[in-house]
Amino acid sequence: MSSSFRGATAIVGVGQTPHYKRGTSGEPELRLCLRAIEAACTDAGIAPQDIDGFVSYGSERNDGQRLMPALGTKEMRYAGLVWGHGGGIPGALNIAAGAIITGQADTVVVYRAMSEYDSPRVQLAVSQSDTAAQYLVNGLDAPAQMCAMRSQRLVEALGVPASTFRAMAQASYFHAQQNPDANGYGTDLTDEKYESSRWVSEPYRLFDCSRENDAAVAVILVSAERAADLAQKPAYVLSAPMGSAHGWGAREENHEPYWSAGFESVARRLWAESGYGPSDVDVSQIYENMTGMGVSALIDHGFCTPQNAAEVITVDNLTVPGGRLPINTSGGNLAEGFIHGMGLVTEAVRQIRGQSVNQVAGAALSLMTGGPGDTLVSSALLGSEDTL
């Protein structure tokens, strides 16, 4: 496999603030963002002023220009934003890595910060006011409602049982019980508790939907060469493709396949570039804005098919220590907290380092899939040195 991208960079530092219930952090976004970046620098053993590249995604407002005075940035050499929403998270790793590989920057931070303290309702900040008239006119505002129609199709037309949605939620809550910082810590999501929770937009109940938080996350990338000399065990970026297939993009519910999370083309490139396949992956962080979209993402990446989804997507199989497909091991967007999905990147790195609260023994290949169903999506496969 001739790829100048594969394994050429690594994530060497991660930092994040606590997950505050939205509107309660008492801190502006910029301040939370700086806290996360400083923490990531400390973790990596890198001086904040040495960061020379700034990359984010979606509607992130805290551009590098605003961060550099407080970081003491010596020289900003690179800045970029991946279009879309949560679909672009691994894509942000992609362009950060590209900048390093091509010599445009040496130390790139990828980050996301959200706070209702000084920002609009987080849900609006995430959707960045780009909702087409056709939705709002007909009573559709939130991603939960739009994704609900796609998941309804998955259940009713493709025959994937809704029990898979419950399993996604319960696996996340199960893992959150080992994570005191998780919003779902202390919540035992029994079948009864799930089934009796109120509907949001059918087929989604309350526990199928992620919750927004005031919080910030940052990760730092450098070249593989430099990574070897730093404090932490490197999480090498084996592949982080982004994009959309023909028939996808901004199509206002006219995309194909309708039930999909949109990863078919990205997953194909992910496996081709990394040289690995779904059966090789040790642990996965699956962005689940809503449970059903996480199920579609698993299908898109080849972990199961619509036909056998019910056998594969069970609580036992999705959880540590016994499951063969452990996902969202810190609690995920559903039960840990929602920093526009960015918390899943730090957990994917912790698994490589052996630092997860639900550690998969010997985890060497760690997958993170971006926001499902977005008009642009991306996925990242991280690996330990042995996987290079």
Partner: protein, 153 residues
């Protein structure tokens, strides 16, 4: 004609669909088709991705199709808070065979009996209203339209 929707313009989508909303306000359901190669396109586009033409026709389409998917919402989110008194309400994504399978959103009107993917639906046009953000709208009804209200296809 001064259009209500133009006074309440929602930006954020592709934005090539003004003719759709104008037509609904005039009482007609029209969908775009490429003047060059004849492919139906929805949402409306400025340029045909198939043949490169910048011209579209907007033929009137009989609003008859089937339920492609649906959701019943139990909460009125911020930007659609005008729906609060309608909760729970159903939104249908209707597939229109006459327009190349274009899928068009609309709130459900009338009884929910028989609501399922594949169920036949037909549309009725509502004038601009607060509940639809000052836009006109098409509402889908389950069943086959009786001949008295139209001549079908």
């Amino acid at each position: 004609m001064a259009y209500s929707f133009a006074e309440h313009r929602i930006s954020g989508g592709i934005g090539a669909d003004s003719r759709y909303w104008e037509s609904l306000e005039e009482g007609a359901f029209r969908l775009p088709r490429c003047s060059g190669c004849g492919v139906w396109m929805w949402p409306a586009l400025y340029r045909c991705g198939e043949c490169g033409s910048w011209e579209q026709d907007w033929p009137e389409v009989d609003p008859v199709g089937t339920v492609y998917s649906w959701t019943r919402s139990w909460y009125a989110f911020d930007r659609t808070r005008e729906r609060a008194s309608s909760v729970p309400y159903v939104v249908v994504l209707a597939e229109i065979p006459q327009a190349g399978g274009a899928r068009v959103l609309g709130a459900l009107a009338g009884p929910e009996d028989g609501l399922r993917i594949g169920a036949p639906v037909y549309g009725t046009i509502e004038p601009p209203a607060a509940i639809s953000q000052g836009y006109p709208s098409i509402r889908w009804r389950i069943g086959v339209r009786e001949p008295a209200s139209g001549d079908g296809q």
